[in-house]
């Protein structure tokens, strides 16, 4: 029989998170607890679920327009304006997608010519590099450093730019580090991007989970940046709606037109029920997001304190729901550390290397878990490091 598969696809590795948790699954040990999940532990707010149910009761079971329900795009436009001072026309600059995940894929496919380079600061969420490659682009990695608080430094960006560079990818607040880039951090980056005539894809899916006490700043709100930025976000983290599979992108009409074409042929439209629920989330979900943010923030402070007390260096993550402690001083690789932690203390965490080589020496700890679970888990880490030389 002929080979069924595309050899390029075969060459793309599967996610490092998956790989590690395949080991956990194999152990099949009920004693194992995990801090590995990257989705909220909260249920979708009930009024949002109720709205989804109500849409079904009313028989809203058909396709929506390709770009998403008009009312949802209107609400998104208002939301982006109110929260981040971004102006996008709901008519032709906003698309509702199957999660932020689809929106990321659309950006690359709509914008990259073969061989175009995309600069990806790592540690980074696992999907960016494969999506760039699937779209014919070439990922160029910048290694971010703990001592820079995992922010992208202008000189590192400048050094990574070549005549093939087309897109700079940003993800702040960041998965897996929890790093945030503030206005003054982003300004010099924006200048470089304009100077070299580049584009930005900015994954701002954690924008509402920001513990700086200041508002999230989108690079698209800077002068001259709107026309060269695609903002990607979604409902998964802000409203605890991962399973609904709903995200969105906002971009200048010219780029959006091509993204919409791919979406139209590959997806048709995002789930209609989820879109009705999402309208309610945007209209009435502010209090829920605030409640979750407060709770995450308590847990974040708790974890940072515990790591500090254990003598483990952990930079102060100010966003998302992850901390990224530095375990290099124990002389184990992050993979060894995570595997031994799993075997000896039955705690599963993701090795930093799942998010790029420069994640070496770190672990990603998710705090999308109750304080009770976090306490138990941290006790296990404490017991583990006590036994290390």
């Amino acid at each position: 029989m002929r080979r069924a598969l595309n050899s390029f696809i075969e060459s793309i590795p599967s996610s490092g998170i998956r790989k590690f948790f395949d080991i956990v699954a194999e152990m099949n040990d009920p004693e194992v607890i995990s801090l590995g999940v990257g989705e909220p532990d909260f249920d979708t707010p009930w009024h949002v679920r109720e709205e989804g149910i109500y849409s079904l009761t009313r028989g809203k079971t058909f396709y929506s327009p390709n770009a998403g329900l008009k009312e949802l795009r209107d609400e998104l436009s208002l939301f982006l304006k109110k929260k981040y001072e971004l102006s996008y026309d709901p008519k032709d600059e906003i698309i509702v997608t199957v999660g932020g995940s689809e929106a990321i894929d659309l950006c690359f496919r709509a914008m990259l010519d073969p061989g175009d380079e995309v600069i990806i600061p790592e540690p980074a969420f696992v999907s960016y590099k494969p999506c760039v490659r699937l779209a014919g682009g070439v990922p160029v990695v910048i290694d971010l450093k703990n001592e820079d608080d995992f922010k992208l430094r202008p000189e590192d960006l400048e050094a990574a730019i070549t005549d093939k560079t087309k897109i700079v990818f940003l993800n702040y607040p960041n998965n897996p580090t929890g790093a945030v880039m503030e206005r003054e951090d982003l300004e010099p980056i924006a200048e470089i991007i304009k100077k070299h005539d580049l584009f930005v894809v900015s994954d701002e899916i954690y924008s509402e989970l920001n513990y700086t006490g200041r508002r999230h700043v989108s690079i698209a709100s800077f002068p001259g940046m709107r026309e060269r930025t695609v903002v990607v976000s979604g409902f998964s983290k802000t409203f605890a709606m991962t399973g609904w599979r709903l995200g969105y992108a906002a971009a200048p009409a010219e780029i959006m037109k091509q993204m919409l074409k791919i979406h139209q042929y590959a997806i048709m439209c995002a789930p209609t029920t989820a879109q009705y629920a999402a309208i309610d989330a945007l209209k009435n979900g502010d209090g829920d997001t605030a409640m979750m943010r407060d709770e995450y923030n308590n847990r974040r402070r708790y974890l940072l304190k515990r790591f500090r007390d254990m003598g483990i260096d952990c930079f102060e993550a100010l966003g998302a729901f992850y901390v990224f402690p530095d375990i290099s001083r124990f002389g184990l690789s992050s993979d060894e550390f995570a595997k031994r932690l799993l075997k000896e203390q039955k705690l599963a965490v993701v090795p930093g290397t799942a998010f790029g080589d420069c994640g070496e020496g770190h672990l990603r700890i998710s705090y999308a878990y109750s304080l009770r679970d976090l306490k138990r888990a941290l006790d296990r880490i404490e017991a583990f490091v006590k036994c290390l030389p």
Partner: protein, 159 residues
């Protein structure tokens, strides 16, 4: 700091001062002192476990009683309420607006015991006009905790 401590304790009264301090970015000593003050000021009035007695061998009968009263000169609602709350069987009593005056929660060992309490102790109180007793058949949620169905983590490690 007060409000933050209260919010955390309201969710979990067993949370240690050290853990509260870590969560709110304070230190253990200050949290302990603040909790002591909150207790002294009777803002924190008690600490209770939320128990699903149905999962134990203990027999319980809870009832919710609507009580209508006629407050008389010199004997306002508060005095009548006190005559009711002094009974240990009464686990809660509130003055409410609407068709009746007090909502009284009784925790008894059996329906018979509750019925006896209502007919022999509650009804005869001076000023009580009428009572209407409703037995609790099933407890779904109490103090913000869903009793009926323990929460299970169904998430997968994907992202």
């Amino acid at each position: 700091m007060r409000e933050k401590i209260l919010e955390l304790l309201e969710k979990n009264a067993r949370m240690s001062a050290a853990d509260i301090a870590a969560c709110i970015g304070s230190d253990e000593k200050s949290v302990e002192a603040e909790i002591a003050r909150l207790e002294d000021e009777h803002i924190i009035c008690g600490y209770h476990a939320v128990i699903d007695w149905n999962r134990t061998n203990e027999e319980k009968a809870d009832a919710f009683i609507e009580v209508k009263v006629s407050p008389q000169r010199g004997v306002g609602f508060d005095q009548i309420a006190e005559r009711i709350w002094q009974y240990p069987e009464v686990s809660g009593i509130q003055l409410i607006s609407g068709a009746f005056d007090f909502a009284v929660l009784i925790e008894g060992k059996s329906m018979r015991e509750v019925a006896m309490f209502v007919s022999e102790k509650l009804s005869p109180i001076e000023g009580v006009l009428s009572t209407s007793t409703s037995f609790v058949l099933k407890n779904y949620k109490e103090n913000g905790v869903v009793i009926e169905r323990p929460k299970k983590d169904e998430r997968l490690e994907l992202s």
